[in-house]
Symmetry: D2
Subunit: 344 residues, 4 copies
Amino acid sequence: MAIRVGIVGGTGYTGVELLRLLARHPEVELKAITSRGDAGKPVADMFPSLRGHVGLAFSDPAQAGLDECDAVFFATPNGIAMQQVPALLDAGVKVIDLAADFRLKDATDWGKWYGMSHACPHLLEQAVYGLPEVNREQIRTARLVANPGCYPTAVQLGFIPLIEAGVVDLGGLIADAKSGVSGAGRKAEVHTLFAEASDNFKAYGVGGHRHLPEIRQGLSAVASRDVGLTFVPHLTPLIRGIHATLYARLNAECADLQSLYEQRYANERFVDVLPSGSHPETRSVRASNMCRIAVHRPQGGDTVVVLSVIDNLVKGAAGQAVQNLNLMFGFDESCGLELVPVLP
Amino acid sequence: MAIRVGIVGGTGYTGVELLRLLARHPEVELKAITSRGDAGKPVADMFPSLRGHVGLAFSDPAQAGLDECDAVFFATPNGIAMQQVPALLDAGVKVIDLAADFRLKDATDWGKWYGMSHACPHLLEQAVYGLPEVNREQIRTARLVANPGCYPTAVQLGFIPLIEAGVVDLGGLIADAKSGVSGAGRKAEVHTLFAEASDNFKAYGVGGHRHLPEIRQGLSAVASRDVGLTFVPHLTPLIRGIHATLYARLNAECADLQSLYEQRYANERFVDVLPSGSHPETRSVRASNMCRIAVHRPQGGDTVVVLSVIDNLVKGAAGQAVQNLNLMFGFDESCGLELVPVLP
Amino acid sequence: MAIRVGIVGGTGYTGVELLRLLARHPEVELKAITSRGDAGKPVADMFPSLRGHVGLAFSDPAQAGLDECDAVFFATPNGIAMQQVPALLDAGVKVIDLAADFRLKDATDWGKWYGMSHACPHLLEQAVYGLPEVNREQIRTARLVANPGCYPTAVQLGFIPLIEAGVVDLGGLIADAKSGVSGAGRKAEVHTLFAEASDNFKAYGVGGHRHLPEIRQGLSAVASRDVGLTFVPHLTPLIRGIHATLYARLNAECADLQSLYEQRYANERFVDVLPSGSHPETRSVRASNMCRIAVHRPQGGDTVVVLSVIDNLVKGAAGQAVQNLNLMFGFDESCGLELVPVLP
Amino acid sequence: MAIRVGIVGGTGYTGVELLRLLARHPEVELKAITSRGDAGKPVADMFPSLRGHVGLAFSDPAQAGLDECDAVFFATPNGIAMQQVPALLDAGVKVIDLAADFRLKDATDWGKWYGMSHACPHLLEQAVYGLPEVNREQIRTARLVANPGCYPTAVQLGFIPLIEAGVVDLGGLIADAKSGVSGAGRKAEVHTLFAEASDNFKAYGVGGHRHLPEIRQGLSAVASRDVGLTFVPHLTPLIRGIHATLYARLNAECADLQSLYEQRYANERFVDVLPSGSHPETRSVRASNMCRIAVHRPQGGDTVVVLSVIDNLVKGAAGQAVQNLNLMFGFDESCGLELVPVLP
């Protein structure tokens, strides 16, 4: 029998992507999608792509009956989930938060980066960081999963083999990351208008981006010590896709970087290590839950270059959330996620 | 037991799209994909999006064993299928041609528009034009299906209800159609380079496009008389998508155009008539087999405006071909085609 | 000595385009650019492309000293200019309004389409519609010019030769027009976000667009009788550019459409009739004040197809406004407008 | 009196961009544009954007009378200029090569990277590397200028102040560069088709790109010692624009990076150092000869991040070539280059 699933905040891009995936998920019954502003409006009126696939209307959060669900996804702006999660957990509902509310372990740090006090700091320890390639076993038994950010997913999956192997200088990691514009969400803002973002390329947040502490926390956990990271995000005129270009300095002999990566991810369904010399394209994972990675050592020098691509809305958000759901409820990990990337 | 399927010419966009769809089709076993130039090369080396989904390598046409298949798709340039189809039919193989070789009934006309003599004019009569919404029953028993062109699919589905109802002037139909660039194929040409086709819009082929006689033939068959059509195709900077804007002059009373369209397509799984006043977007069908249509009568005048959108690679090519396969082999018509459009 | 010029509302796309053009105009001294919300902010802080070219800061409208200017451009939302123009005219300032406030001659009609009462209906008669190819002499002596809309410019320039020659059915003109997204302005709105408008194509306003009465008024004036027009605008993923595809039915003999167009525009600096058989591209006029036109008669039938392209921000807005300024002040008509289109 | 100028190879993007600039250059008379394949064809037939601005037809190289020109630009594929330059120099013609033939000082190195023997290695020493911000005085008296590559321009201008100041570790420089697709030229190739390059992002040439030795040579000359550089180019879906993100490790105290950059470029007309904290956008230099730079020191650490943007066809090719021409002939350095960037 299918589990009952609710979505809080279904009008953004991660929301509609969750709907695209869950509409075809054989173990899931969609019970409610909430939107305070659009309550009563059929979901398919806002997103005609879902006509014939999603029959629900948006419901008011208060009337949605979320506490009768088996699982609830939060696809809300930061700061909303932390208000509602404690009650849902108390009602026995499992929660996957696609926002940032439970990603950092330190409440003070969280407050500093997100500009507000955390509403339930006691849950930060309990929340499991939902990167299955690192925390699979804890996710299986988690009641609350903090779904990773899009950049952190691409960057961590790219660096992890090097860090676990202990072969690079942990003081000077560099992550130069490029994101499609859907990563900025479906809010009406000038800088993400077509006429602003098309035929244009720029860096942003060089002084400090909220994904920096999240990546640093994740990599430091893997390294069992603090890592030094420079993280520069860029906006590039794609709808979907993140391309992370990672730089690290080798400080120990590593005979075969290619094997290191292939072995680390040999059993991972959603991480694909490309053959030596490859350059993964973002479109090769478009609309799928895959992360593709290539590792290079240019000119045989001591700088390693790792290329890591994901679809920011799938492996970087909704797809990874479904992957976590599958783990939490004992379904096959790829259930509902066997998507062939859309190319061209 | 799955049927055995071969694809001739798998290196273009319709080829890779067929692979995307057939890789997840539960009733199909892919036996061979041919490419003279790339024989021996794993398909997934050319299209990394298919890694983990398609294990085949391209094979030489002569060694591919196509005559042992149950069905063969031709995703080749015009003029290839007509050379090979007779032998395959003789071997009992059912054929679906995604090129134009069997779309026109008149061999002389075909020769004029395609610039070569037809190699098997005797098959033109036998070939069934594969537009299921018109020819469903003939397709079920066809041995050879001529899969419609992309523009002809969008334009015909938009005009058919008006023509069947006999309410418009058949002498002055206008189809102003806009296509994404993938419609031009994966050939290396200057005019479809990114730096030429991006941030640019143009008409082409105003003097005469090969899809004109195909549309005229189809609409004339529906009308049981010759129709006069002006067809102007345009290139627009999308990857996928066709938007046809159709104009016709009412010459009889039609109380309710909206009902006319809704009733005509009430039982069609892949034609979706939008509510009155709608404007379908190409992205609302992206990567799916759906055609969405809206009908307008601006200012209550006697000009009807019909808006019809498809994904040129799916309903306009590979998806419709799979829909035809399903009909020819008695599978559910939507088998392998239950795709939720990818938005954004 | 240069004339003193002010711009009201300099933060939108027509505003920044005016600045791009006027910064290099040898007869113009920019005195003030107003913006209520951004008063005090250097213009080049908002538009870094103007660093080194425009040294002004935005000023508050009340302090801008507009009444000491020789000419003032309004690049404001509809409904603003009509509040301020009477006082400026009284102060002897010449005004060019790039919004729609003075485009329609009938105040009732204006009120119906723009949803508000007109603040100075008595000026509607006096205002000169600023399409130099039609109204050049009146513009020279005008105190108030209503700069045409972007669609109306492309559509009227395309239809005028046919209508003046009296060779087409005036009851059934069709204008299928496609615009780049900058035409929607620089307001933060969801439907013009990159992730909404990119890789997407749609019609809008089929039931009735504000440019319909403007085009109808202009063509009716040329025809000296009412014309029947169906106008369907579309949004296409370009930043700049309009492509109008126009359809008309010949109802009189016209031996040589090509000559008709070439002769009509022989002395027009900013209308370029392409050789017979051409398909103008929007990029061929990008960032320039040119309109390029081609005329076709497909299959020798009685339907004429005219293709007309402009840059919506230049000939469709700021460039045409400067052209009008040149006429009003006796400068060479192309002064400051000798721009080579940017291709690719 | 204007100088007579010829262009060899005018059918690519750097060729048409040279024409756009030279058509409005007050000191230049265009005498000849050669193209073996298109001799006799009016230039404006291939590039309608130049209608009314360039009246020349392409001429056969043999009949072009290039030796009667004062200056000749080569906008040819690599390996062509070196065949023809010696004769032109002997005839007293000054030459600016926009290809790579004269960029490297070491003929062996050149042969290794470009896969052919150099035809006139004796000219490599004499050729002046045409980066005016470094070699202005030598350019003034040069007979042969090697116009820099697009990536090398953006990367060198970004690193130079740090290197001249001696404040960074020269062993581990990293240049992560992103280019628009016009950088790949106007050749018909599959990977630069719209349907391949749009909505896609990828790195390429990580193992070794031809601009690596050029950048290394330039930076080493500035440093007076060998520098270690990792250079990773990426293809991003823009038509024009390069964004270089540069990383260097501080190894000496530098109190004020912002002042360092501002002072270095205080007198440079075409390098604009943005205020502290800025993020330059590629569109802020679109269609202009400007390079805009911002320097950051994230979190006050010892990693410096420099952001440098140019239009690859202007400051990265044709514009810089005209800047060099101006220097070689004693014109004002910005003559013909006072272009306001096109935004949006």
